[in-house]
Symmetry: C2
Subunit: 111 residues, 2 copies
Amino acid sequence: MSMLHDMDSTAFTILGEPTRLRILSELRDEELHVGELVAKLDCTQPTISKHLKVLRDAGFVECRVDAQRRVYHLKQQPFKSLDDWLEPYRQLWNRNLDALENFLDQQENNK
Amino acid sequence: MSMLHDMDSTAFTILGEPTRLRILSELRDEELHVGELVAKLDCTQPTISKHLKVLRDAGFVECRVDAQRRVYHLKQQPFKSLDDWLEPYRQLWNRNLDALENFLDQQENNK
DNA sequence: ATTTTATATTCCTTGACACGTATATACGTT
DNA sequence: AACGTATATACGTGTCAAGGAATATAAAAT
């Protein structure tokens, strides 16, 4: 039960780099090729390419070839893993919601 | 609209350390003091204390004092931020679900 | 008051990684 | 074929963070 949800920390290491996080953010709504990412994030091209390699190897992105261009887009799997990892922590606020509800019920009953 | 959900990468940097991730995992179901964490994760005490400081400074955990002991527990805020950050990426699978639904509807209609 | 227990902090060393520059590869255009 | 464009890779360098050992702090027990 708690064996599920136990996650390798490497995914977080990958997201812990500001430029990589921005790359993912830029790719949320549209596919982009390397040059476009270089322009949007004003980094050098090698920097972007290296970050893209890291993201590719970790399965966060994928690219299709369009002539000399590589067009990158997001893959869902690692994000789903994050969502699963987060699941057991959601009780932190659900629990509080329950407590609030109980409190409000209590108030109601004491009227 | 996309300004919300844009997250500082430091939270991920913090989660990118295996021992810290395990500390959070251990604290999911129960409060623990430092000594208990040292035992569970077999690290040296200074290592655990240093990781706890990082987690404290980032708001992931909090501790109450019990005599010489510091009893640590999770705080919800950073986890909620992660949940919010994840939100726009959920369309990656919702979108696919929609596509699947459409496909199935299509199949249905063609009977 | 002294000693023991529990935790935090400091200093040092080492390893990982991010960036820049330069270069390689591959496709397109002329 | 030669040149230009688009992307990837290699190498050297600097920064930062993790871990170990030693020490500091604080409360408890004797």
